[in-house]
């Protein structure tokens, strides 16, 4: 699946590309309005990561162009503007999601995979990993087809991990994903540990493997091995 990154800040664009590029995704970059427009018109993308302020034009216009020619590429706006107005405008113009800078790459990855899931499996909102299965509609976890009860945060955490499988995700990123960026609690993210501990216990008790590994105390990795 191809993903287009429309972002004029090359360093950020490269980071996104490096993080998203894996066996599933293939990234392309456009650094200005015209390059982006050309690519959008020529190719189909599973998802377009779109910055609003671009050299040579506005990301919103790009979005409108895209929708006007009935292209159904998923679009996520990444913008430094963080007001309800801007978000509403973006979503009304046909964006699927709106993410405010500065974001964590795992957050972007989770949002991108959510958009792609919605676009490609119409109605079938199931996420599988090994022998566990998340029903996104019902928000339930099944391990070997047996439902496992999770709290709201544990469910969100598991989905987040699966969207970022085989990657190390920082505690800070997890905290922001679960509680939001305005959540000024402390810079000691140990409280996340409790959620992770409970989630691991529930997974192992229901017969799944222990997928979550702590990495140097600064983050976690969700993987098979």
């Amino acid at each position: 699946m191809k993903i287009l990154i429309v972002e004029d800040e090359k360093e950020l664009s490269q980071s996104i590309c490096a993080y998203l590029n894996n066996e599933q995704y293939f990234c392309e970059s456009a650094y200005d309005y015209h390059a982006a427009l050309e690519k959008i018109l020529l190719y189909d993308y599973a998802c377009v990561i779109l910055d609003i302020s671009l050299p040579g034009g506005n990301g919103m216009d790009l979005l409108k162009q895209l929708r006007s020619i009935d292209k159904m590429d998923g679009v996520i706006i990444v913008s430094a503007r963080n007001s309800i107005d801007d978000k509403v405008k973006g979503l009304l113009a046909g964006a699927d999601d709106y993410l405010t800078k500065p974001f964590h790459l795992p957050e972007l990855a989770a949002r991108v995979s959510a958009i792609i899931r919605r676009k490609s499996f119409d109605g079938k909102n199931l996420v599988r990993f090994d022998n566990i299965e998340l029903d996104l509609h019902e928000k339930v976890l099944k391990v070997n087809n047996i439902p496992v009860e999770l709290t709201k945060k544990e469910y969100e955490l598991l989905l987040y991990f699966i969207s970022n499988k085989n990657r190390v995700v920082a505690k800070n990123a997890i905290a922001i994903h679960l509680w939001g960026d305005s959540f000024d609690i402390s810079d000691n993210y140990d409280f996340i540990y409790t959620h992770i501990k409970n989630l691991r216990r529930k997974l192992v008790q229901s017969g799944a493997l222990d997928y979550i590994k702590s990495v140097y105390g600064m983050g976690y990795k969700f993987s098979m091995s």
Partner: protein
């Protein structure tokens, strides 16, 4: 005191004083003139008598009319001529009347006489009284008319001023509409309106450029933060990373998070101050608080914080986005400053929301509490903006926030008029 009340008062007092002095001066001037007049008449009479005596060497026939009496009395000694006053009883009158008298000596037929000519001053007195009466009544009428006229005229004259004042009062620098100022023929008011228009226009331009600048600055900072964050997110994917490097990365992450939050909070404060959240709506606090409690529940459980909740239906008129930020900050505050195994209580009633929490902190200084970057102790986990955001939101939303410290609990109480709207 209103300008024209003040003006009228000063005007009236000055007028009364001037008129009083003028009346007294007028009275004396009039009296002086009338006396002079009568003295001249007496002088003429005297001249006539002297002429007659010189011609005939005998006294003229003494005749008296009602307001003039001439008397000759033989005297031996010398008589000093001069004017004096005398009260004479007239026929048909009860009271003695005031007379002006001129005394002199005449010699006729070898005899010396004291001659006195008296002229009644009563006629002059009544003339003086009439003139004074007319003058004083005229002054009185002038005073009353001027007060009424001033009041009416001033009110009418100052009307453009009050209209302008109202327009200035309703002027909002953050709102786009231009100030509507009344057109007026009065030069001073025209000048004032023009100046006001210029000042508001230029301050609006400055305000807009400052607003754009601060917003742009904050937004520009977001991008480098995003780059640093993304590089860190990539860096930790490196499997060669050592434990020590991991700790370094963690510190960098924390600093970046703090910077990001700080920037966001400052941007939010600027936006609130710029009244960018002015549209209000009905916020169903019962549902909102319940939602927040659900959000925080697991966090509280993980830190063994006990929670007492008492919720009643409650509605507040404010911007919904601000209401959300307010609740978020109140809950974060109560949670973040708490200790493991502590307590939080949430009490929502119509017109009032109280959130209390235990904390390692002792009583906070209520004067400094809501200041920006106020940190009670060496705790630097927090950016010190949370409470000033709460305060700012309360101010623009017309609600009050106060702080009390009772029984080791920090109480933050938000109050609003539950009957509004």
């Amino acid at each position: 005191m209103k300008l024209f009340t003040r003006y009228n008062r000063a005007n009236l007092i000055a007028n009364i004083i001037i008129f009083l002095i003028a009346s007294v001066a007028f009275y004396f001037a009039l009296r002086f003139i009338l006396i002079k007049q009568i003295d001249e008449d007496l002088e003429i009479e005297h001249d006539e008598i002297v002429e007659y005596v010189q011609k005939h060497d005998q006294l003229p026939e003494s005749f008296s009319v009602s307001d003039q009496v001439i008397l000759f009395t033989p005297v031996k000694q010398e008589v000093h001529p001069g004017y004096s006053w005398a009260a004479l009883q007239q026929k048909n009158e009860e009271e003695p009347e005031e007379f002006r008298r001129f005394l002199f000596q005449v010699k006729a037929g070898g005899k010396s006489y004291k001659a006195e000519i008296s002229k009644s001053f009563e006629g002059s007195n009544s003339l003086m009284r009439s003139i004074l009466f007319i003058t004083v009544s005229a002054i009185f009428v002038i005073l009353i008319v001027s007060v009424i006229l001033n009041r009416y005229l001033l009110k009418k004259l100052w009307k453009p001023f009050y209209v302008t004042l109202e327009a200035v009062r309703n002027f909002h620098i953050g709102k786009g509409d231009l100030m509507m100022l009344p057109s007026t023929y009065i030069e001073e008011f025209q000048l004032m309106n023009e100046t006001l228009k210029e000042v508001t226009q230029s301050s609006r331009v400055e305000y807009l450029s400052l607003k754009t600048f601060s917003e742009n600055a904050s937004h520009e900072i977001q991008t480098p933060i995003a780059v640093i964050r993304s590089k860190l997110d990539l860096l930790i994917q490196d499997e060669q990373l050592t434990q020590g490097q991991g700790t370094l990365v963690q510190s960098a992450y924390n600093a970046i998070d703090k910077l990001s939050r700080l920037n966001r909070s400052l941007l939010l404060l600027a936006k609130i101050e710029n009244h960018q959240f002015d549209n209000r709506g009905e916020v169903l606090l019962y549902d909102k608080v319940k939602e927040k409690i659900l959000d925080f529940k697991e966090l509280w459980q993980s830190r063994s914080i006990t929670v007492d909740i008492s919720l009643k239906e409650s509605i507040v008129q404010m911007n919904p986005e601000l209401a959300d930020i307010l609740l978020n900050n109140l809950f974060s505050n109560a949670t973040g400053h708490n200790y493991n195994g502590g307590n939080i209580s949430v009490n929502l009633a119509p017109g009032s929301l109280t959130i209390s929490n235990t904390s390692k902190e002792a009583m906070l200084d209520p004067k400094k509490l809501f200041q920006r970057f106020y940190r009670p102790s060496f705790d630097n986990h927090h950016n010190g903006l949370g409470l000033s955001i709460i305060k700012q939101i309360a101010e623009v939303s017309g609600i009050t926030i106060d702080y009390r410290y009772i029984n080791q609990h920090h109480h933050f109480n938000v109050k609003w008029n539950s009957n509004q709207g």
